[in-house]
Symmetry: C2
Subunit: 95 residues, 2 copies
């Protein structure tokens, strides 16, 4: 949509701490549940819940059981934000 992408994501376990300094990031939980950890707290999301992480805020998605998400963010955004590392995914993968 315009310069944004809808990214279908499966998660289990802990992602890396990261932030996106230039953009907010929206999470919609499609199945299962997840936590988004912040340095000062945690948000728990279940199916159909929406959460927007503001730009620049360090966060770490995690899920103890498999969960399915829709992540909405600008096309150029790397999933690991400023952090990089082995969990960085290639962009522009269409399914």
């Amino acid at each position: 949509m315009n310069d944004y992408q809808f990214k279908l994501v499966r998660i289990k376990g802990e992602f890396v701490w990261h932030n996106h300094k230039d953009t907010d990031e929206a999470f919609i939980v499609l199945a299962g549940g997840m936590d988004i950890e912040f340095r000062d707290g945690v948000a728990h999301l279940e199916g159909d819940e929406l959460f927007v992480v503001p730009r620049g805020i360090e966060h770490r998605p995690r899920s103890s059981a498999p969960a399915q998400l829709l992540v909405i963010e600008p096309r150029v955004v790397a999933n690991t934000g400023e952090s990089g590392g082995e969990l960085t995914s290639p962009g522009d993968v269409w399914i």
Copy 2:
């Protein structure tokens, strides 16, 4: 999210034909089903389905039974696009 809004929408019946000349528009069906009519066809959407209407394309959302939607588009967009009329909603209503 950034300069975009997530708009919770309840529909029943036919909306007006309209287009948004400067932006795409994303529909996610939360409950029920809907059609998006185009001048040359129709898209039928059920729960959890996503459809992006490209900018400039005339369309008319409709639903024979009540349905609940999440519409994602830039903050400044009017629901009736270029058409106006009595179905135009005020923007920036937060719930």
